[in-house]
């Protein structure tokens, strides 16, 4: 149905021509779901943009062939492509909110596509749009027709995007990271909906993702891409069981899965035994009846409704839940960026909740509690080099100057595995993993006893995630730190934490030792979370 042969795409940039895709070949058969898996920069999205001929300015198809049902996509006129897009080939983008026009009712946006491809006229457009919304299982479609994108949840927006993409019964659906940024249960719901629709309409589809586990679950065949080229292709179960190419092996290894220890995420040749550490019996941090209530426009909003948990010295506790469950609010209060409405935060015997967050920067306890942020890019000052970033806490809290500070910065760089020459780079000149290292170096600069990790690997590729998680394991043993690991992903939490706290709707629904919660969840919500995570096929013993 779709055949791609030696496709090469290049971009003109300031530093000359960049070859984003170099000689990719694959085909999609009728009714087949093909997964394109690769990490950022592998050219997987660019390949799909090239097929739709929606490359950014400066990009062009340099060589190769792309034929869809006898139409040469490389040579087709822009007019022909316009007819093809949406009607024959349709696309679902990564960020559903960005893909929708924010100031147009979602119903109208569906109508636009229908009318553009003459599937509806002014009289029946509304009815057809509602029909399309019902097809993607939107409850109460009649009422949702008049909603604006900001009034809908992320999952609901993605359903609207699906409705738009499927409105004209395309033969081929390209999904570019359709569930990135969605909660794990929403991810499952969206993926199952799409798979069902694809099967029902016997469409072909391409699923582009960085998540090998997700691809394995929903695709008939997988193509693994690296640096603009296909390194391996084949059946998902086979690919997982016996990866041929070293890169595929590395990806398979790095994908968190049941039964794998944190060290097993790393390639076999660099695995070292997990360092021993000591967990004390005494609580370093005790959170008691912590409450945060915001004054909202329509009455008070209860973000956190009385949570209590302990973190022992040397222990790592996972705080798990979906977006809006109050886990980030809780961690902000613990790290003293936000004042609680009521409750106590006992740290080393002192109630920190009594000290206002506004003046906490000058508190002697500031150096003891630090944080690694979710988005490494957002958390680094774009105008500061890595060196300046790491110097901040050393200057303000340790009072280090001149040579002593410079030495300590280099020592920290070595500690987190950041090559010293990168210290003089700006954030935009660093890769995601390098930025994460800078963020970690800054957080541990003043030897904190307690570190809050707010989804520190959420924005990273799996192979980098594996490296960063292992770095955190090494650092915790070496520096004797306690972690509060905030995450939505139970499988990642399992790797790092001794104890898990599961939150939902501002309350703790379950907490206990990690193994117990993971194997025998007491609360149905925990079970649902575990169930929703993609389950990659087993890997043959290497």
């Amino acid at each position: 149905m779709l055949t791609i042969k030696d496709l090469a795409v290049s971009f003109r940039t300031r530093r000359g021509e960049v070859n984003a895709v170099r000689g990719v070949s694959f085909e999609v058969k009728e009714g087949e779901t093909l997964g394109i898996v690769g990490e950022s920069g592998s050219g997987k999205s660019v390949t799909s943009y090239a097929l739709m001929r929606i490359l950014d300015a400066g990009g062009r198809i340099k060589a190769g062939e792309a034929v869809y049902s006898g139409v040469d996509l490389k040579r087709a006129s822009e007019r022909d492509m316009q007819g093809l897009r949406g009607r024959e080939i349709s696309m679902i983008f990564q960020n559903p909110r960005a893909a929708l026009n924010p100031i147009r009712k979602v119903g109208h946006q569906i109508e636009d596509v229908l009318r553009r491809h003459a599937r509806a006229d002014a009289q029946n457009a509304r009815a057809k749009a509602i029909e399309a919304m019902e097809a993607v299982k939107i409850r109460d479609a009649e009422a949702r027709y008049d909603a604006y994108p900001f009034e809908l949840s992320g999952g609901m927006c993605q359903r609207i995007v699906c409705a738009i993409a499927l409105a004209c019964d395309p033969k081929l659906l390209i999904m570019d990271e359709p569930t990135t940024g969605l909660d794990i249960t929403t991810q499952k719901a969206v993926m199952e909906l799409v798979t069902e629709l694809i099967r029902e309409r016997s469409m072909s589809s391409i699923l582009i993702t960085h998540d090998l586990g997700l691809a394995a679950q929903y695709c008939d065949r997988i193509v693994v891409m690296k640096d603009g080229a296909v390194v391996e292709a084949g059946d998902p179960v086979r690919l997982f069981a016996r990866p041929q190419h070293p890169y595929t092996r590395k990806l398979v290894d790095a994908t968190p899965r049941e039964g794998a220890s944190i060290r097993e995420l790393l390639p076999a040749e660099v695995r070292t035994p997990e360092p021993p550490r000591r967990i004390s019996d005494e609580a370093l941090l005790s959170v008691r009846d912590l409450v945060k209530t915001y004054a909202g426009k329509s009455g008070p909003v209860h973000a956190v409704k009385g949570v209590s948990f302990d973190v022992k010295a040397g222990q790592s506790v996972g705080l798990v839940g979906e977006s809006g469950c109050g886990k980030s609010t809780t961690s902000s209060m613990v790290v003293r960026l936000l004042d609680p409405t009521s409750g106590r935060i006992l740290f080393a015997g002192e109630d920190l909740a009594k000290r206002p967050a506004a003046g906490f920067a000058r508190d002697p306890m500031r150096a003891k509690i630090q944080m690694v942020f979710q988005d490494a890019t957002d958390s680094l000052n774009p105008r500061h080099t890595s060196r300046q970033t790491i110097a901040e806490p050393l200057r303000a809290m340790a009072g280090l100057k001149g040579r002593a500070r410079a030495e300590r910065i280099e020592e920290l760089a070595d500690l987190v595995g950041l090559p010293r020459p990168l210290l003089d780079r700006f954030p935009h000149q660093l890769s995601g993993g390098q930025k994460a290292r800078v963020g970690i170096a800054r957080a541990i600069a003043v030897n904190p006893a307690f570190l809050v990790l707010d989804e520190p690997t959420a924005a990273l590729d799996v192979s980098i995630q594996a490296i960063v998680l292992n770095l955190l394991v090494d650092l915790r043993a070496r520096l004797g730190m306690s972690y509060l690991f905030v995450s939505h992903d139970l499988h990642v939490v399992r790797l790092l934490c001794d104890h898990v706290v599961v939150m939902k709707g501002g309350e703790i629904v379950e907490q206990g030792p990690t193994e117990q919660v993971m194997t025998a969840p007491a609360d149905p919500y925990t079970a649902e979370l575990l169930e929703a995570a993609p389950k990659p096929p087993a890997r043959d013993a290497a």
Binding site: R366, P382, R383, E411, V416, L471
Partner: protein, 304 residues
């Protein structure tokens, strides 16, 4: 802090694949790059250099004393001896136009610098702390903006007295709201940014976070505003002089020269007003072109 030096170095096993080395460039390299990348910026900077040369060296280069009158040579059309002709008192228009550059640039630069500083401080405070401070400041600034700017400046100069300092103050006050609003918006969107929170965690007080972390990130768009404003400020100062509320004769200043020359256009002596007018246009045009280039120069993200 000494306890930390005992930590053994990290294992190299965890090193991830290295990106190809990026050559770090100095500030000068970057400026040269921006100039080469955009010919308009290069042109703008060349024009700016001409203006600066006229301002700095002008008085020592011009062929005639800009204030010396010579009744026998009054109202001469442009010639080889007097490139821009002479005015009704026989003064060389070219010399006067060149010498005026320094005064006009001084007024506009001083006014813009003053409004930049005041506007940034007010806007940053309003954007960062919000609340009643934001509401009060925003309304005051809105009120200033609601006045016809030139009328406001006229009022200020008329009330305070007809001196160069007062022209600077008047021009500065009417420009403050533009900076304050821009900075307020830029600071507001970064108030909760990860790097601002991280700076707080690093032990920085609110004031430091604002001044050293958030505010510098607002500089690139500010530069565009600064250069546009320099153009307006020159026009404003010249305008005040034109209606007799600014620099007083016989000082050489473009606004007065245009005002004085305007009387002679009817009788055919066009050169009196046209040449200082062109100088004014040249200066405003230069500053308007300069904006984007300046923005690119203060943005480290462009240094790739």
């Amino acid at each position: 802090m000494n306890t930390m030096t005992e930590i053994p170095p990290a294992k190299t096993a965890l090193a991830e694949p290295q990106a190809p080395p990026v050559r770090s460039k100095g500030a000068l390299d970057h400026v040269i790059y921006v100039l080469r990348d955009n010919p308009v910026t290069l042109l703008a900077f060349a024009m700016f250099a001409v203006l600066m040369a006229a301002a700095v060296l002008g008085p020592s280069l011009v062929p005639y004393d800009p204030l010396a009158t010579n009744a026998s040579e009054a109202l001469q059309p442009p010639s080889a001896a007097h490139w821009f002709g002479t005015d009704n008192l026989g003064r060389d228009v070219f010399s006067r136009a060149v010498v005026a550059t320094r005064l006009d640039l001084l007024i506009s630069v001083a006014a813009v610098a003053l409004s930049f500083v005041i506007g940034s401080a007010l806007g940053a405070a309003a954007g960062y702390w919000g609340g009643w401070l934001d509401i009060a400041l925003s309304r005051v600034l809105d009120t200033i903006m609601a006045f016809p700017l030139f009328v406001l400046a006229m009022g200020i100069v008329a009330a305070l007295g007809n001196t160069i300092e007062n022209i600077v103050y008047a021009t500065a006050i009417i420009n403050v709201p533009f900076y304050a609003r821009l900075v307020r918006a830029e600071v507001n969107i970064r108030r909760e940014a990860g790097f601002a929170l991280a700076a707080k965690l690093a032990g920085n007080t609110d004031l430091r976070v604002l001044a050293l972390h958030i505010f510098p990130n607002a500089l690139p768009p500010m530069m565009v505003q600064v250069s546009l404003n320099l153009g307006w400020a020159i026009l404003n100062a010249a305008g005040l002089s034109f209606i007799g509320l600014g620099v007083r004769p016989p000082t050489a200043e473009w606004g007065i020269m245009v005002a004085e020359g305007a009387n002679f256009i009817v009788s055919g002596e066009w050169w009196l007003a046209i040449f200082p007018g062109l100088c004014l246009m040249f200066a405003v045009f230069t500053f308007n072109l300069l904006g984007d280039g300046l923005r690119d120069m203060v943005d480290p993200r462009r240094r790739t």
